[in-house]
């Protein structure tokens, strides 16, 4: 499980949530629970959210027109809400990607090298 769980600060979660969700949705239509699992996978288990918070956030993005939602059917016949990214969302993601790369590149050059971790049993 990578480097274990990293507790992101509230501000960082808030700032990164939009690009993370949009990034997951570029791969295609998806529903809430699956989005969360793919975030966990993509972060190698280092980022975990309070799961209930995902849904209000999805609604906010829908309000902003970055994603759209539709009700569909799950495998077991339950109603399930699927989200997909809009062109406006893709544009937003590209913009955010530029900003985040700038931040990450800057930090890469400035941070001290990582302390070698003791091997976990």
């Amino acid at each position: 499980m990578g480097d274990g769980l990293v507790n992101l600060t509230k501000d960082l979660v808030a700032a990164s949530a939009t690009p993370i969700i949009l990034g997951v949705l570029t791969a295609g239509e998806d529903y809430g629970y699956s989005i969360l699992r793919r975030i966990t996978e993509a972060s190698a288990g280092r980022i975990e959210w309070s799961e209930g918070m995902l849904y209000p956030l999805l609604h906010r993005l829908e309000h902003q027109g970055l994603i759209t939602a539709r009700w569909g059917e799950a495998t077991l016949g339950r109603r399930r809400k699927y989200y997909s990214i809009t062109p406006q969302g893709t544009a937003e993601l590209n913009g955010q990607a530029l900003q985040w790369r700038a931040v990450v590149d800057t930090l890469e050059g400035l941070f001290p090298p990582p302390i070698p971790r003791t091997v976990e049993a």
Partner: protein, 459 residues
């Protein structure tokens, strides 16, 4: 344990239902949101069961991972600020229990019955001259509106008690018959007492329709008290706003000298005033799940104000030393004020949660009640003075009786507050004591309305 599993929801119907109820009641969350969250929950339960957890364990963990319901609800509310208000009007609150009106029919039923109540109130006027109307409406106003309210409440109620509704019907029919047979004569004191007290008595009895099968249990009458309190506040608000808006509209029409303005408004005002009763009934039920009730909040705000008002009255009267010479108008206004205090105590207790101890509010109430008891004793003293000096009259006796009941109610409340606050007894008896208030006041109102006229020769 990997392999095909039965549907994740198997055996979880009860906890899932509870969880749904709990989430749906939160403001800002719609049933659609809960559907989505439920899908999430069940997906998670499904995955957790694959690693060998029991359905119950999986459910507990899934709920925990979803995060605190109030935090989630707050997030939803922050995204959809409009919902908190829209939800008030548009979405059905809870699925109606079997045997009652489907919740989609709530508003149409309330509006339809409201319109009928309005027309029932207005139409007789078209067939009367002024003299008959002034005799007809004081006797019958309650009978023109309340039956429609009762039909609505009975249709909305979860249960209906045949014996209770029969009793209700008998009470209404008998009092309508009596009141219309009474030969009221000048100076019409008893007629006005009846006009004032009959609606109170009948509105109290209407609780039978609201409570359904629970009407025999004293505790459940507190629900009717809550309902009435909220409804009265709504009615006052609606009437104030309605009066303001119609006055503005009427000004416009008068300004352009539109024909038949006064005739149209002569219909609109009474129909709306009567119909608003039904709309209030709908609003109270509708809003119950959305926000904290308004009456307790208002009462908490006004408790200090009332205490100050009554205290200063005590100081002025005691230092002035004019006990018996209190004017009639002063007595009437303070009588009204004491009724308000009794109402405030009643609503505060009705909203008091046994588990949460708002000691501050309880102490404030105790002080208010004690001051009110002192004022009431003073009023009773002054009233008996007037009674001895000027002789009895229906008005004086009605006021005296009302104050004796108020004194008993307030003194009992003070006693129970002391037990709760000083001796740390549970608040149950305090609540039980308040439960008696509405039936007792209702019966007294019925006595004044129906027994006083014959006792005093219909004068």
């Amino acid at each position: 344990m990997i392999g095909p599993l039965p549907p994740a929801a198997e055996g979880l119907d009860a906890p899932l239902g509870e969880w749904r109820d709990m989430m749906t009641r939160r403001p800002g969350i719609t049933t659609e949101d809960v559907d989505e969250l439920e899908d999430h929950l069940l997906s998670e339960v499904h995955d957790l069961r694959r690693v060998g957890l029991s359905p119950e364990e999986a459910f507990l963990i899934a709920v925990r991972r979803l995060g605190s319901p109030s935090d989630v609800a707050r997030e939803y509310g922050a995204v959809h600020t409009d919902r908190l208000w829209r939800q008030l009007v548009l979405t059905p609150s809870e699925p109606s229990p079997a045997g009652s009106l489907p919740s989609g029919w709530d508003l149409p039923a309330a509006l339809g019955l409201g319109l009928l109540a309005g027309l029932a109130t207005r139409i007789p006027y078209s067939f009367m001259d002024g003299g008959t109307a002034i005799d007809f409406y004081p006797r019958n106003l309650a009978f023109l509106v309340l039956p429609f309210l009762i039909v609505y409440l009975a249709a909305r109620a979860q249960t209906r008690s045949r014996s209770g509704l029969t009793l209700l019907l008998t009470v209404f029919a008998a009092s309508a018959l009596l009141v219309n047979l009474y030969p009221f004569t000048w100076p019409h004191q008893t007629l006005w007492l009846t006009t004032l007290h009959l609606p109170i008595a009948l509105a109290s009895t209407a609780g039978i329709a609201y409570l359904g099968k629970r009407w025999r249990s004293l505790e459940s009458w507190m629900d009717w008290v809550r309902f009435l309190g909220e409804a009265v506040i709504y009615y006052v608000l609606i009437v104030l706003v309605g009066a303001l808006i119609s006055m503005l509209i009427m000004q416009i029409f008068i300004a352009v000298d539109a024909p038949a303005t006064s005739t149209v408004f002569g219909w609109v005002f009474p129909v709306c005033a009567a119909g608003a009763v039904l709309v209030c009934a709908w609003l109270v039920e509708r809003k119950k799940s959305v926000m904290d009730n308004m009456a307790p909040v208002l009462t908490a705000v006004f408790t200090p104000l009332l205490t100050l008002g009554l205290l200063s009255f005590l100081v002025v009267v005691l230092t002035g030393g004019r006990l018996i010479s209190l004017e009639r108008e002063v007595l009437i206004s303070f009588n009204g004020l004491l009724i308000v205090v009794a109402g405030v105590v009643l609503f505060t207790v009705s909203a008091r949660r046994p588990e949460s101890s708002h000691r501050g509010l309880d102490w404030m109430q105790l002080i208010l009640v004690c001051v009110a008891v002192a004022v009431d004793v003073l009023l009773l003293w002054a009233m008996s003075g007037r009674l001895l000096e000027y002789g009895t009259s229906p008005n004086k006796l009605a006021a005296l009786g009302c104050n004796v009941i108020l004194l008993a109610h307030l003194a009992g409340s003070a006693w129970h507050y002391v037990r709760v606050l000083v001796w740390q007894k549970p608040g149950l008896n305090l609540v039980r004591w308040q439960c008696w208030a509405l039936p007792v006041f209702g019966v007294w109102a019925a006595i004044v309305a129906l027994a006083f006229p014959p006792l005093f020769g219909f004068r």
